[in-house]
């Protein structure tokens, strides 16, 4: 039972991550590889605040939202000047920089050793120690993220995003502020991703930079691409599928050292297959 609860919590966290990436990569068509970076910013902010200052979880979440929002704003301001594959390269670079900050700024982040001893999450002085309680918190938060994203994508702003992903110049000629829409969607997506990071830090109670590498970004992106880019339900199903996939490998009896690599290989193959299929690709680059 504990094991199933663990899997459900992980699925909740990845649903938050992949759905928030879906806003940028799917709806506005800007493929970003920096998502694990924002995930990491959320996790590190929550962990550092909780360990060093003992601040309550709600405050940590708000600060994580704020910090990742500021970083995402700066990044988006630069990245919005580029298109297509240059955009991917820029976000790839951001991922590398955020990772190297987490790995190298030893005074604050404790370098490759990571931060341990993060307290259990507590609301108004009531610690939630059982997994059931944590699961309900993560379900509430991921439901909240889903609700926000659902509203955004159904709003006029969501339609602007969809239009600009199909034809940027035409959308511009209709009087919509394309650059602004891109920046706003990127900032929202980065902020929501940091919520996933906060949950992860409180859940695992130990974080280190290896959880927020480029491979993680690729994993989240492959969830979104396999989920069909623009459908929150399908992205959720793809998350369930891809998170449970390595567990299946474990049941088959694969040693964990091989299974980790095999998992990545499967994601890679899935990426290539999905990209080469005609039906699944909604957006064509200009």
């Amino acid at each position: 039972m504990e094991y199933i609860l663990h899997l459900l919590i992980i699925i909740c966290i990845y649903t938050i991550l992949s759905q928030s990436l879906s806003l940028v990569a799917g709806y506005s068509g800007q493929i970003s590889l920096a998502h694990a970076g924002f995930y990491g910013i959320g996790a590190y902010t929550a962990a550092l605040m909780a360990v060093n200052f003992g601040t309550p979880a709600i405050l940590n979440m708000l600060i994580a939202l704020l910090i990742s929002g500021i970083v995402a704003y700066i990044v988006a301001k630069v990245a919005v000047k580029t298109v297509d594959d240059y955009y991917v390269v820029i976000t790839l670079g951001i991922q590398v920089v955020i990772y190297s900050i987490m790995n190298n700024w030893q005074d604050v982040t404790n370098g490759p050793l990571g931060i341990s001893g993060i307290p259990t999450i507590s609301f108004w002085g009531v610690p939630l120690e059982s997994k059931w309680a944590f699961l309900s918190v993560s379900v509430i938060i991921s439901g909240f993220v889903w609700f926000i994203l659902n509203n955004i994508t159904k709003s006029p702003f969501g339609r602007v995003l969809r239009a600009l992903s199909e034809d940027e110049i035409y959308t511009d000629s209709l009087g919509k502020n394309v650059g602004n829409a891109k920046v706003v969607s990127f900032v929202i997506s980065g902020m929501l991703a940091s919520l996933g990071g906060v949950l992860y830090a409180y859940y695992i109670s130990y974080i280190d930079p290896t959880s927020f590498t480029l491979d993680e970004s690729i994993f989240i992106l492959s969830i979104v691409i396999i989920g069909g880019m623009r459908n929150l339900w399908c992205v959720c199903f793809a998350t369930v599928f891809l998170v449970l996939l390595p567990e299946i490998l474990r049941f088959v009896g694969m040693p964990s050292s091989i299974a980790a690599n095999l998992r990545q290989i499967i994601y890679g193959i899935a990426l290539i297959i999905v990209v080469s299929r005609k039906k699944t690709v909604h957006i064509e680059a200009k």
Binding site: D85, N104, I218, I265, G268, L271, I272, V275
Partner: protein
């Protein structure tokens, strides 16, 4: 003074990788990340042939170059060629290349493990100039060979018919198809050659440092930055870009710490993309359009 040596070393390595990358980028017009794996796989093949199979070092060098260019070429043939035929946008081919990169990197770590592997080189020892500057033989050979590689590549693309064909396809694919050039063939050749040069530098790097599965990406990243800040154009822009990058990286390694080298490379990239989006040359890379 030691700095000057390492700046020269890094500049030349970056230029050669960036040039080999540019060869494939210009002909197929997308950032193919699988190039990183070709850099690493060259070194791994040398390790496999010369140490595990105990073959002659130079013989295994040649074999490994050949094998890795075959791999680069077959990646293009098996993955990118069908995607191009289906008229996928460059972003999607890039995602596919990401997939190839992930697959092959994990295949490497399945086969050889994640730990550092030493590549026994024939060149040991170093010479001392002016009492204080240490230059290892490996560094000298790398610098000389990289310079030679650049000259060969330049000669190739200016004087041979295949080089000219690749250049034509890079400049204008549609017109070259009209004139009767087999574009796919030319792209395949550019991948073959690009992988050849990438693997060559990969082996040279590996004999100075050690080999790990991630080394390809670590070295490709500054080369991509070099290519972007250099822009499209003559090779001297690439040299400028690589020189700037190497100087800033070495200075940051000298004054801060060598851990921040990737971050500084990226900060240069941001500054350039913000103020000069098309690099030193200022020429806009033309997407394929009629």
């Amino acid at each position: 003074m030691q700095l000057v040596v390492s700046i020269a070393y890094f500049t030349l390595v970056y230029v050669v990788i960036a040039k080999s990358y540019q060869l494939t980028y210009m002909s197929s017009r997308f950032f193919q990340l699988s190039h990183a794996i070709v850099i690493a796989i060259g070194a791994y093949f040398v390790y496999w042939l010369s140490i595990q199979m105990s073959l002659n070092y130079y013989l295994s060098f040649v074999f490994s170059l050949f094998l890795s260019s075959i791999i680069g070429w077959s990646i293009d043939l098996l993955v990118y060629h069908p995607l191009r035929k289906n008229k996928r946008g460059s972003v999607y081919i890039m995602i596919a290349s990401l997939g190839v990169f992930v697959i092959l990197q994990n295949v490497i770590s399945l086969l050889w493990g994640d730990r550092l592997l030493p590549l026994q080189s024939q060149l040991k020892g170093y010479i001392i100039i002016l009492d204080s500057i240490y230059i290892s033989y490996v560094q000298i050979t790398t610098i000389v060979l990289c310079f030679l590689l650049l000259l060969i590549l330049h000669w190739f693309s200016e004087n041979t018919s295949m080089g000219k064909t690749i250049k034509m396809v890079s400049i204008n694919p549609v017109t070259s198809e009209i004139v009767g050039i087999n574009t796919e063939n030319a792209i395949g050749w550019s991948y073959f050659l690009g992988s050849l040069f990438a693997a060559f530098t990969g082996i040279l790097i590996a004999s100075n440092y050690n080999i790990i599965p991630k080394m390809g990406f670590n070295w490709l990243f500054p080369a991509v930055v070099t290519m972007i800040i250099a822009g499209i154009g003559r090779i001297r822009y690439l040299v400028f870009g690589a020189l700037l990058l190497a100087i800033v990286q070495q200075l940051s390694a000298y004054f801060l710490d060598s851990m921040w080298m990737n971050a500084t490379a990226y900060i240069i990239l941001i500054i350039f993309l913000y103020f000069r989006p098309f690099g030193f040359s200022g020429k806009k890379p033309k997407k394929t359009e009629v």
